[in-house]
C-alpha cells in the first residue's frame, strides 16, 4: 500500500529534525517500558503509545513552553513531547524516589508540573473537566496560555466529556480538546461504540469547530493544533480535534487482543508515523539515511542513560509513606 506523502510545512528544518528525534525518543521509551515489564523489572500495568507518536509530537510542537497539557493513561508520549527530563520520567516509571512524582504515581500518573504537564489520568475522561478548569483559570487571570486536553475515543462516551465541552464553549475557554482515536477503547471498536462518524461531528452540538485529521501525519496534527491554539489564545474559544491513528500494542498488560486481526495491525504498521516522517525528511533532502539512523541511535541512547539513572536512584523511604496527602 502506498503511504501518502506528507505536505510541506511552515516548520523549520531544525524544528522538524527535533520532532523526529522526539518521535524516536517516545518509541524508544515505550519499547524499553515493554521490555522492562517483560523482564519483571517493573510491576503494575502500562499503556503504550507505539504507533501514535505523531499525535503527541505534532500537538506538542504547536504549544508554547508555558501552555498546559492534561492527558490520559496512554500518556508517556505526551510527557516526552512536553519536554520532560527523561531521567526523572523513567525514575517515576520505575517507582523511584527521584521520579517526577516521587514514585507515588507510576506509569499511569506521570506529571511534570514545572513544564505545564498537569498529569496523566487513570480515570477515562477524568482529566477533561479539569482541563476546562485550567482554561477558566487562564481566562480569569488574563493569561495568554492554551490548555491541551488529550484523551482517547473511549472518553468521548463519558457524560463528563459532554458537560466539559459545553462549559468550555459557553465560556469561550482557551482549551483544545484532542481525541486520539486509535480505533479501540480496550476491546470496544469505535465502529460499535458510536452512532456518529467521524467523532469530530460531535463538536457541532457545542457550536465549536470540529476537525478530523490523519493522526499519523505529524504535519497535519501540528497544523491543526496550531490553528486551534491560535483560536484559543485569541479568545475565540475551544476546538475539538480528532486524530485518527492506531495502537500497535495491546491495551495494557492483560490484553490477548482477541478483538482485532493481525492483518488489520499489519495494515496500520505500514502507516508507521515515524517511517513516514523520516522518509519525507530524506526525500526533501533535509536528512540523509545515516542522519536518520544517528537520530534513532541518539534517542535510544537517551533512554538507556535514563534507565541507568533510574536504576541507580533510591527507592522511596518507607518512613515517608504518610507524606504528601495533605497540603
Amino acid at each position: 500500500m502506498t503511504i501518502p506523502i506528507l505536505q510541506a510545512t511552515s516548520l523549520t528544518q531544525s524544528q522538524q529534525i527535533e520532532m523526529l528525534e522526539q518521535m524516536y525518543r517516545i518509541r524508544a521509551f515505550e519499547e524499553k517500558a515493554d521490555e522492562l515489564f517483560a523482564l519483571g523489572r517493573v510491576h503494575g500495568t502500562m499503556h503504550l503509545s507505539i504507533g501514535q507518536e505523531a499525535v503527541a509530537v505534532g500537538a506538542g510542537a504547536a504549544l508554547k513552553p508555558d501552555d498546559y497539557v492534561l492527558n490520559h493513561h496512554r500518556g508517556h508520549g505526551h510527557c516526552i513531547a512536553k519536554g520532560a527530563d527523561i531521567n526523572f520520567m523513567m525514575a517515576e516509571f520505575m517507582g523511584k524516589a527521584t521520579g517526577l512524582c516521587k514514585g507515588r504515581g507510576g506509569s499511569m500518573h506521570i506529571a511534570d508540573v514545572e513544564r505545564g504537564n498537569l498529569g496523566a489520568n487513570g480515570i477515562v475522561a477524568g482529566g477533561i473537566p479539569i482541563a476546562v478548569g485550567v482554561g477558566l483559570s487562564v481566562q480569569m487571570q488574563r493569561q495568554s496560555r492554551v490548555v491541551l486536553s488529550l484523551f482517547g475515543d473511549g472518553a468521548v462516551n463519558e457524560g463528563v466529556f459532554h458537560e466539559s465541552m459545553n462549559l468550555a464553549a459557553i465560556w469561550k475557554l482557551p482549551v483544545v480538546f484532542l481525541c486520539e482515536n486509535n480505533q479501540y477503547a480496550m476491546s470496544m471498536p469505535v465502529a460499535r461504540a458510536f452512532p456518529i462518524h467521524p467523532l469530530s461531528k460531535r463538536a457541532c452540538a457545542y457550536d465549536m469547530p470540529g476537525e478530523t485529521v490523519d493522526g499519523n501525519d505529524v504535519f497535519a496534527v501540528h497544523e491543526t493544533v496550531q490553528r486551534a491554539a491560535e483560536r484559543a489564545r485569541s479568545g475565540q474559544g475551544p476546538t475539538f480535534i480528532e486524530c485518527v491513528t492506531y495502537r500497535w500494542k495491546g491495551h495494557s498488560k492483560s490484553d490477548q487482543q482477541k478483538y482485532r486481526t493481525r492483518e488489520e495491525l499489519e495494515q496500520w504498521k505500514a502507516k508507521d508515523p515515524i517511517q513516514r516522517f523520516a522518509s519525507y525528511l530524506i526525500e526533501t533532502r533535509q536528512l540523509t539515511a545515516e542522519g536518520v539512523e544517528q537520530i534513532r541511535k541518539r534517542a535510544s541512547d537517551t533512554i538507556e542513560e535514563a534507565l541507568r539513572f533510574a536504576e541507580a536512584s533510591p527507592e522511596p523511604d518507607v518512613n515517608t509513606i504518610l507524606e504528601g496527602v495533605y497540603a
Partner: protein, 327 residues
C-alpha cells in the same frame, strides 16, 4: 471435592443463573470478547450471545441507570464495574436512585440488580485502580454489600445476590481471583447476612474481610505454633451484618482484632467495633478492641510502599501478639 479458582467460581455462578433464569443478563465494559479485565466472564459471550453479555462504551453512570431501569421492569441485570475505583462515576445512580427507589415509590417496585466489581491493591495499579470503597455503600440504606473471601463463598453468595430483590454491591478482591478452593458443582446459595467462623480458636477473635481472611488464617497458623489460638470470623456480607456470630465469638475469646484493607478512618472496622462495643461481648473483653487497616493514604505505585499501605500477614501476627500482651 473439585477445586476451582475464585474467578471460575464466579463465572460458574453467572453461568448457572443465566441458564436458569432468562431475565438475567450481564452488562459492562469489555466483558464480552475480552472476558473482563480479570477474565471473569471469559466464555460467557460464546454461550449467551451479545444480547445477554452486553459490552458497553465507557459510560458507568448510564450503565448503572440502565440496570435500574431494566430491573424495575422485569429484568435481573448483573453489571460489572471494571475496577471498584470507577464506581465513583456511578454513585449518583446507585445512591440516589437504586438504593431508595423502592422506598420512594412506596414499595411498588423492587430493584433486583447486582454490581460486581474487582477491588483492592497489590497489583501495582496505583491510586486510581486500587480502591476498597465498601464502607461507602454500607452507609446507604437500600443497598446490600457482599465481600466473599473463598471460591466456595463467592459462588454461593453470588447466586444468592442474583436472587435477591435488592441492589447488591458484590466486591471481588483482585488478589483472590487466582486462589483455589473446593466448590460444589451444583446450585447452592450462601445466604446474605450469615457470617462464618473460618477457624475456631480460644484466645483471640480476628474479624477480617475479603483478602484479609487468607492472611488472617496464615497468621493464625503461625500464632498457633506460639500457643496462641486464634478464631477467624468472616462476616461475608457487610450489609446485612451478622452481629450475633461476631459477638458470640468475641464473648468466647475476650479479645478482638478487626482487619480490613480499606483505610482505617471511616472504614468498616469502626462499625464492627461499635457493634461489638454495643453488644454483651463488651463485658467479656480482656483488652481494648483493636483495628488493623489500610493507612490513611491513596495506594502508592512503588511496590514497597504499596505493600506497606495495607495489612500483611506479619502485621496481623504482631497485632495479635500486642493484643495478648495487653490483657
Amino acid at each position: 471435592m473439585r477445586e476451582i479458582t475464585f474467578a471460575e467460581a464466579i463465572r460458574e455462578a453467572l453461568r448457572l443463573e443465566m441458564r436458569r433464569d432468562s431475565r438475567v443478563f450481564l452488562i459492562g465494559e469489555d466483558i464480552g470478547v475480552y472476558g473482563g479485565a480479570f477474565g471473569v466472564t471469559i466464555g460467557l459471550l460464546e454461550e449467551f450471545g451479545t444480547e445477554r453479555v452486553r459490552d458497553t462504551p465507557i459510560s458507568e453512570a448510564a450503565i448503572t441507570g440502565t440496570c435500574i431501569g431494566a430491573a424495575i421492569t422485569g429484568m435481573r441485570p448483573v453489571m460489572e464495574i471494571q475496577f471498584m475505583d470507577f464506581i465513583a462515576l456511578a454513585m449518583e445512580q446507585l445512591v440516589l436512585q437504586a438504593a431508595k427507589m423502592r422506598f420512594m415509590l412506596g414499595g411498588k417496585v423492587s430493584v433486583p440488580m447486582v454490581l460486581r466489581t474487582p477491588a483492592g491493591s497489590g497489583t501495582g495499579a496505583a491510586a486510581q485502580h486500587s480502591e476498597s470503597l465498601e464502607a461507602w455503600f454500607v452507609h446507604i440504606p437500600g443497598l446490600k454489600v457482599v465481600m466473599p473471601s473463598t471460591p466456595h463463598d463467592a459462588k454461593g453468595l453470588l447466586l444468592a445476590s442474583m436472587r435477591d430483590n435488592n441492589p447488591v454491591i458484590f466486591v471481588e478482591h483482585k488478589l483472590l481471583y487466582k486462589t483455589k478452593g473446593s466448590v460444589p458443582e451444583d446450585d447452592y446459595e450462601v445466604p446474605l447476612g450469615v457470617a462464618e467462623v473460618k477457624r475456631p480458636g480460644r484466645d483471640v477473635t480476628i474479624v477480617a474481610t475479603s483478602i484479609m481472611i487468607p492472611r488472617a488464617l496464615s497468621a493464625a497458623t503461625k500464632l498457633a505454633a506460639e500457643g496462641i489460638e486464634v478464631e477467624v470470623v468472616d462476616p461475608r456480607t457487610l450489609k446485612p451484618l451478622d452481629t450475633d456470630t461476631i459477638s458470640a465469638s468475641v464473648s468466647k475469646t475476650g479479645r478482638v482484632l478487626i482487619v480490613h484493607e480499606a483505610c482505617k478512618t471511616g472504614g468498616i472496622g469502626g462499625e464492627l467495633a461499635a457493634q461489638i462495643a454495643e453488644s454483651d461481648a463488651l463485658f467479656y473483653l480482656k483488652a481494648p478492641i483493636k483495628r488493623l487497616a489500610g493507612l490513611d493514604i491513596p495506594i502508592p505505585y512503588n511496590r514497597t510502599l504499596e505493600r506497606h499501605a495495607v495489612p500483611q500477614e506479619e502485621n496481623i501476627v504482631e497485632a495479635v501478639r500486642d493484643l495478648m500482651a495487653a490483657g
